[in-house]
């Protein structure tokens, strides 16, 4: 598939590699996934920003050549009037491979090269970037590189690596390795790496929930974002990152949403439990999917216990810190809603919000089912009672007859409805009174819901039996995704889940 539209914001990469190729203006740059800022011996770790580290330039002798490029999920090709360079990733070797013909290849750090320590060694050229061992080894061609140390500036001169052809060809390997690690021999050709990566991507796509074939182009785009943006936490847990180019950080709520796109229950459960539950507490939407599909019945008992305890801790924290009226819970901070702007805080905080209370109602239901599965029957009964109390409180306090609103838990003042969060109780599906679901279905602005969190409400429309509204909104969302692209892996995951469920 063509990934050129994604090169500017997300880059070309492989899910098991930190290597990236990104577009800046007309040119391509090589880069590394963000590792989190830290003061290295070279100063602030440029890998933490990852704006593009080394510009790729092509030369004919001393004359710089303009180039165009194409990019698939497995191969980049730069073409100039005099020759071409191809780039692919060999993930098992932590290597970025370059092969070119008819041109001189140059990698130039430019202004990004300040505070870099560089060193020409027998193994290749090392740059103090990325927190590991960033090593460039020429396999064919002759290298020019100045590693002069500038005493008064605490760094080397700007790194510029120039590889002139030998027999008309150049070949270069960029390694990104843990410190003090010897690079391994590359055993596959560039073409074999590209072919293998394409096959891996195809297999990854197959692991996502099924969607109608007529939307395969949208599916492919979303799959690419989910595929390359893999992160690994210190615990070893694998997560989906919003954009590995920009940050290695993520939140639990996004993992819960991402899990909805995966067929395999173990993968979904792994994402769901990768991080401690946070706000907004949407994990139970994903968890109930797994419970209702029987996935947890096949899971290890210890896993179920851990899940039950973790979810219980979350429930108790909400009850302890954010509840005054039984069954009604409040946000204290805007960011807890998971969306940037909301009208729900208009009446002041702490605010009992309709989305929060819907999520926590599902949390109680999930806890009841988990309690049953670990033979905690007494707890199960209490959680089911809580579901009833919460449902009653949600409707009594936050339903104004037309829509859901927020309520200041101190003053009782109501906020104006929110175009997204007022519709989030739709996640309750058939647990909502039919007339409420119908009213919401009639007034919902589908475009406003086109976000990772908002899409959960459209999923709920289907659960609530509002099939027509759900279909209409799903098709519209898919159409916009086709026209405008998808710029967030989590929204993409939610959209795949929607297409799978509704269509």
């Amino acid at each position: 598939m063509n990934v050129k539209p994604y090169l500017k914001d997300f880059g070309f990469s492989h899910r098991e590699s930190k290597h990236m190729v990104v577009a800046k203006g007309e040119k391509l740059w090589i880069s590394l996934a963000a590792t989190g800022g830290f003061m290295t011996s070279a100063g602030a770790d440029p890998g933490a920003v990852s704006a593009g580290l080394l510009e790729i330039n092509l030369f004919d002798g001393g004359t710089e050549l303009a180039y165009t490029y194409s990019a698939t999920e497995s191969l980049i090709v730069l073409e100039s009037a005099k020759g071409a360079v191809r780039i692919a990733i060999d993930a098992p070797s932590n290597a970025l491979l370059f092969e070119g013909e008819g041109v001189t290849l140059q990698l130039n750090a430019g202004s990004a090269g300040q505070f870099v320590t560089s060193l020409k060694t027998p193994a290749g050229i090392e740059l103090s970037i990325g927190g590991g061992r960033y090593l460039f080894a020429a396999k064919r061609g002759s290298v020019e590189f100045d590693d002069t140390w500038i005493l008064s500036q605490f760094h080397s001169v700007t790194p510029i690596l120039t590889l002139s052809p030998e027999g008309g060809k150049v070949a270069l390997v960029a390694y990104e390795l843990p410190v003090d690690t010897t690079p391994v021999e590359i055993t596959r050709t560039l073409d074999e790496c590209a072919k293998g990566n394409a096959a891996e991507f195809a297999a990854f796509k197959d692991g996502l929930v099924a969607t109608p074939a007529e939307w395969d182009d949208v599916r492919d785009n979303i799959a690419y974002l989910l595929w390359i943006n893999k992160g690994t936490l210190l615990s070893g847990a694998q997560v989906v990152l919003e954009n590995k180019r920009r940050s290695p950080d993520t939140q639990a709520r996004f993992q819960a949403i991402a899990s909805l796109a995966f067929k395999d229950a173990d993968t979904a459960l792994g994402l769901l439990t990768a991080l401690p539950f946070d706000a907004p507490p949407v994990e139970s939407i994903a968890l109930l999917r797994l419970i209702d599909e029987g996935a947890l019945a096949r899971a290890h008992r210890g896993t179920v216990y851990d899940l039950y305890n973790a979810l219980g801790d979350s429930a108790r924290q909400w009850a302890r810190e954010r509840s005054v009226t039984p069954g009604l819970y409040a946000y204290a901070y805007r960011f807890e809603t998971g969306i940037k702007k909301t009208t729900l805080f208009g009446a002041g905080e702490p605010v009992a919000a309709p989305d929060l209370n819907a999520y926590l109602l599902l949390q109680s239901e999930a806890l009841a089912k988990l309690a049953e599965s670990v033979w905690e029957s007494g707890d199960a009964i209490r959680w089911r009672e809580s579901v009833k109390t919460q449902r009653a409180a949600l409707i009594a306090h936050l339903w104004n007859g037309e829509t859901f609103v927020g309520e200041n838990v101190r003053t009782g003042a109501k906020s104006a409805p929110d175009p997204v969060l007022s519709y989030m109780p739709l996640v309750l599906g058939k647990r909502l009174p039919a007339e409420i679901a119908e009213k919401l279905a009639q007034s919902v602005d589908g475009e406003a819901l086109e976000s990772a969190i908002g899409t959960l409400a459209i999923l709920g429309l289907k659960d609530a039996g509002c099939d027509e509204a759900a279909s209409k909104l799903t098709l519209a969302a898919l159409g916009r995704a086709r026209a405008d692209g998808v710029d967030c892996p989590f929204y993409g995951a939610a959209l795949l889940a929607l297409a799978h469920k509704v269509l």
Partner: protein
């Protein structure tokens, strides 16, 4: 100790407490204004958004104040109406406040013009326990009144999607005129905060007692240096980290100002003057081994609350520290090296020593190493590195000799006699190589690609740390060079680059001209170990006298002009805010070593 009308104030020193995160300092560009932040997230003070102005208020309006701070608390006094407030930091994640006839106001104001953007929300806790504020990576605060009132103001700009104003006010009780308050810091779920706070005066006394107990780890300073030694010990005490995040046991942070890092080799620097507490000294030296790379033996260069930095690395300083401590405090310290302790640490030390000879091997088939960046030597811009890398640096070789000897000691301590012999043999061989190949008759030379680097750096004399392992003629020559006025020896101690060198700079530089504490300590310890007590004493006194005058600052420009060229120096004396040289524990521990063990008593 510090105050508006004291010799030292909080513009260059920052106020903190052992085992805590809050830092208070006087804004250099707004004299008289104290500001408070936290080192937990590792942001430099000059770039953090999590920074509060501290206003003393009378009838709700800020008034001018003076301040005085000691190890117990920091007190603010208004010019009028007997109005005052006091701040005491605890080691239990909270800060206590009290005042009379005044209130205290904390206003969130980013260091970089970002206003109140560090705040993600404030609300009155539903259980009535106080005001809770959320500050992202800086954690949460719970602000509560113990007497009087605590109010929070938080104005949210819907357009900008950020808070435009966040402040906390502590107001006195209308009847008593007093207030007392507390701010807790925490992450995640709110812990249960019990209300039985100790009386404020008791907290202040406890802080003082805590410092006094810590100060017992040090021997008495030489006469005349007792007063400044109190400051130095306080700097170390107040930079002793909390146990939080990635820091699993207390370490000494370098300083509070740029970022709160525990630098690997500095833990051994801190161990050196702890002559009255050998157990603590040994623990300090061993701290970073908990983060050792199992595969290679590498120790991380730095550690913060957020994690270790495995990319950078610092010199193998542990042997030098152990050599000094055992020479100075032999029997008492050696009691720490029990067989089980030797059994525990020998493999780790051995792995660290072998890391250097494996991954920094100069490729000669022996233990000679070549470093790949100046940071691996500790001297980031020493002129010995002007010809680049890889560089065979005699200082690293000297550190390795001492490390090998102490690895041998640990091997012997756990009964591995044959291995101990081997380590000693390696130490001896490396010493001979160092003398034969890196002494040019006048100084020790660094080599790059087989060629000696032409340099007038102080680093050229650092292998004096080998003491009497060196031939007497080398010892005599080094002592002569280090006491030659106008070359490396200035009125305030040894400069890091000769004053006759055109490369000497006092600008944005660390060790290419400035007189810095660690180098003066290393060289004077080396001279004394070589029998050159008089020379060591002379140099140590010059540096320590300057610390007495100027404060516990890492480095100083010795002149306001460059002697080699006559040109005006680009950094003026005394140090000013732009040169980024705050008080630091690295100077404090170097001073303490010199004041307690080098300067004659």
């Amino acid at each position: 100790m510090f105050g508006t009308n004291e010799r030292f104030n909080l513009t260059r020193a920052t106020y903190s407490r052992r085992g805590s995160h809050p830092i208070i300092f006087e804004d250099f560009n707004t004299p008289g204004l104290l500001r408070i932040t936290s080192n937990r997230a590792g942001d430099p003070m000059a770039a953090t958004d999590f920074l509060f102005d501290v206003n003393l208020t009378v009838d709700g309006a800020p008034v001018k104040y003076t301040y005085f701070a000691d190890e117990g608390s920091l007190r603010l006094e208004a010019d009028c109406d007997c109005a005052w407030a006091e701040i005491a930091i605890t080691d239990r994640n909270h800060v206590r406040y009290r005042g009379e006839n005044a209130g205290l106001q904390l206003v969130l104001r980013s260091a970089t013009g970002g206003g109140a953007r560090a705040c993600r929300g404030i609300h009155a806790a539903l259980d009535g326990s106080g005001w809770e504020g959320e500050f992202g990576k800086h954690g949460k605060l719970l602000v509560k009144a113990i007497a009087g009132a605590a109010l929070a103001t938080a104005v949210y700009d819907e357009e900008k999607g950020a808070f435009s104003c966040v402040k906390f006010d502590f107001l006195p009780d209308a009847e008593t005129g007093e207030f007392e308050a507390v701010i807790h810091e925490f992450f995640g779920a709110r812990p249960c905060f019990c209300d039985d706070y100790e009386p404020f005066d008791e907290l202040v006394d406890n802080n003082k007692a805590d410092y006094a107990a810590f100060a017992q780890k040090y021997a008495d300073a030489a006469p005349g240096y007792e007063g400044i030694a109190k400051y130095a010990k306080w700097v170390i005490w107040s930079r002793r980290s909390a146990t939080a995040g990635a820091i699993k046991e207390p370490m000494i942070l370098f300083q509070n100002d740029w970022n709160a890092v525990a630098a690997s080799w500095q833990q051994s620097y801190n161990a050196m003057p702890m002559l009255e507490d050998p157990k603590e000294a040994w623990r300090q030296i061993c701290t970073l081994f908990a983060y050792q790379d199992e595969r290679t033996g590498r120790l991380p260069g730095m550690l913060t609350y957020t994690g270790p930095n495995n990319a950078g690395m610092q010199p193998p300083f542990q042997g030098f520290a152990l050599d000094f401590i055992i020479r100075t405090n032999g029997e008492a310290f050696l009691e720490q090296l029990t067989p089980s302790e030797c059994e525990r640490m020998y493999p780790k030390f051995a792995k660290w020593a072998n890391f250097w000879t494996t991954y920094r091997s100069a490729g000669r088939g022996d233990d000679v190493t070549a470093i790949l960046s100046p940071h691996e030597s500790g001297w980031d811009d020493a002129s010995v590195f002007k010809d680049g890398f890889p560089a065979i640096d005699p200082n690293t070789l000297a550190f390795l000799v001492l490390l090998f000897e102490n690895v041998a000691r640990l091997a012997e301590g756990c009964g591995k006699t044959a291995e101990a012999k081997e380590w000693n043999k390696r130490a001896e061989k490396l010493t001979q190589t160092l003398i034969k190949e890196h002494w040019d008759g006048e100084k020790f030379v660094t080599t790059v690609k087989g060629k000696a680097v032409d340099s007038k750096s102080l680093a050229c004399y650092q292998p004096i740390i080998l003491g009497k392992r060196l031939p007497q003629e080398i010892i005599d020559k080094v002592a002569e060079k280090l006491t030659e006025e106008g070359e490396l020896l200035t009125e305030i101690g040894l400069a890091s680059e000769s004053m006759t060198s055109e490369l000497a700079t006092f600008g944005i530089s660390f060790v290419c001209g400035r007189v810095v504490g660690p180098q003066n300590m290393i060289l004077t310890v080396g001279l004394k170990s070589a029998g050159k007590d008089k020379e060591a004493d002379l140099i140590a006194r010059r540096f320590c006298d300057h610390v007495k005058r100027e404060g516990v600052i890492l480095g100083y420009a010795p002149y306001d002009y460059y002697p080699a060229t006559g040109k005006k120096a680009d950094q003026q004396i005394p140090p000013h805010p732009a040169d980024g040289w705050p008080w630091s524990s690295w100077c404090a521990n170097s001073f303490m070593t010199m004041a307690t063990a080098i300067i004659a008593k």
